[in-house]
């Protein structure tokens, strides 16, 4: 079994092509398309499993996960503000990015586990949905304080009706309603091609990540260090939580991956509109230029080992 998951190699290809300024780009429409398929596929898969789940088990887990989504940015903020000497808005925005989650990273982790035949709770995508939003709210509060001018309704619309949640949640519902049998007809596209679609998606992500390096060059060492240490800390935290919540090794690894991952779709969009004075090049340089590559190259295997370890110790 190769050291790197094959799909990750596509990310490296894209990254290399981007850094070499190769004349290579997937049309935006294709990138959109791949994102839609990935989000739906993840949702559908989760929904099918959901059918066979008791809410009694999940509810406490869901509450805890949401609380974690609130806690993470609160931890990250002071570090960014004082250790990183960043503007308030920038610190708040970056904190929100790391409190939320990255669908791409999650997909790679799923591919990683599937490839090693590690089982996990099929309903984890529910956490994915739950973790999108809270960090954004916290981030805005951190940037603005309790400001009656904040257009919360707009923020809520922006996020709840944003592409990621609509497709993930919609996929969950459809998968849940159709059930394992009903979903079969569409498995050809959403499940059998999942890895291939993910590979192309990562190719594009590599190109995008490369275009963020400029931001790094300008804003120096701190973001790099933060972009690596933060996921490690958060990942460890998430792994511990997963174990406490009684998740399997696979589920623990996935929750660790979620907490360790930083958003680059929902959060940047929301921050751009709600905290415009925050500089997007900073947050994207960190989340796309550093943390995303780190997680899919180094982090995920690490979180997996960590999960195994905790479960061995914790028994």
């Amino acid at each position: 079994m190769p050291a790197l998951d094959p799909v990750v190699l596509f990310f490296l290809l894209g990254l290399a092509a981007g850094l070499l300024r190769a004349d290579l780009r997937l049309p935006p429409a294709i990138y959109e398309f791949l994102t839609v398929v990935l989000l739906l596929a993840i949702g559908l898969k989760g929904g099918v499993e959901l059918a066979s789940q008791s809410l009694v088990v999940m509810l406490p887990q869901m509450v805890t996960v949401v609380l974690m989504g609130v806690a993470l940015p609160l931890v990250a903020y002071p570090v960014l503000r004082f250790a990183g000497r960043l503007e308030r808005a920038d610190a708040a925005s970056i904190a929100a990015h790391y409190g939320s989650v990255s669908v791409g990273t999650y997909a790679v982790a799923v591919a990683y586990l599937a490839y090693r035949q590690v089982a996990f709770e099929g309903y984890i995508p529910v956490f994915l949905v739950l973790l999108e939003m809270p960090a954004i709210v916290v981030g805005i509060l951190l940037a603005r304080g309790v400001d009656r001018n904040t257009r919360w309704r707009m923020v809520a619309r922006e996020v709840l009706l944003g592409k990621s949640i609509v497709l993930l949640f919609g996929g969950l519902l459809i998968g849940w309603a159709a059930g394992p049998e009903g979903i079969k007809p569409v498995e050809g596209l959403f499940f059998d091609l999942f890895k291939g679609v993910l590979a192309l998606f990562l190719l594009e992500m590599g190109l995008i990540a490369a275009s963020q390096v400029g931001g790094l060059r300008r804003h120096g060492l701190f973001l790099i260090v933060f972009g690596i240490v933060m996921p490690l800390v958060a990942g460890a935290f998430g792994a511990g939580l997963g174990w406490m919540l009684g998740l399997s090794v696979g589920g623990t690894a996935l929750l660790a991956t979620l907490t360790a991952s930083a958003s680059y779709i929902a959060v940047p969009a929301a921050m751009r509109l709600s905290v415009p004075e925050a500089n997007p090049t900073l947050s994207l340089a960190a989340s796309l230029g550093v943390t995303f590559p780190f997680n899919i190259l180094v982090g995920i295997p690490l979180y997996h080992h960590l999960a195994e370890h905790i479960h061995r110790l914790g028994g």
């Binding site: 995008i208 275009s211 779709i265 509109l273 997007p280």
Partner: protein
């Protein structure tokens, strides 16, 4: 042919602002707008439209001088500091003045 003078206001900015600007433009009295997808470079660096957050839009509004100035002033006040945005006015002639 009877032609009347109007202004063409052109805005190039971040795609993320599309909905917000559309609302603003109508609120300030314009009767319509045209949007095309764009990419480009300016003070805030290259925006190559590789993905959502680096995409630009180009908005055109044909309207009266007053409306054009009102929109320009409003956008300057609200967006110039925080967003990649430029804006310029040109003179045009239209056939149906009542439309603009």
């Amino acid at each position: 042919m009877p032609l009347e003078h109007r202004k063409l206001l052109t805005i190039v900015t971040e795609a993320a602002l599309e909905h917000e600007l559309a609302r603003e433009i109508e609120r300030l009295g314009a009767h319509g707008y045209t949007i095309t997808d764009a990419r480009g470079k300016g003070g805030r660096g290259i925006r190559n439209a590789g993905w959502e957050l680096s995409a630009n839009i180009r908005i055109e509004v044909a309207c009266t001088v007053d409306v054009a100035h009102a929109i320009a002033a409003a956008l300057k006040a609200r967006f110039y500091d925080d967003y990649a945005m430029i804006l310029f006015l040109g003179d045009i002639e239209v056939l149906r003045p009542e439309k603009f």
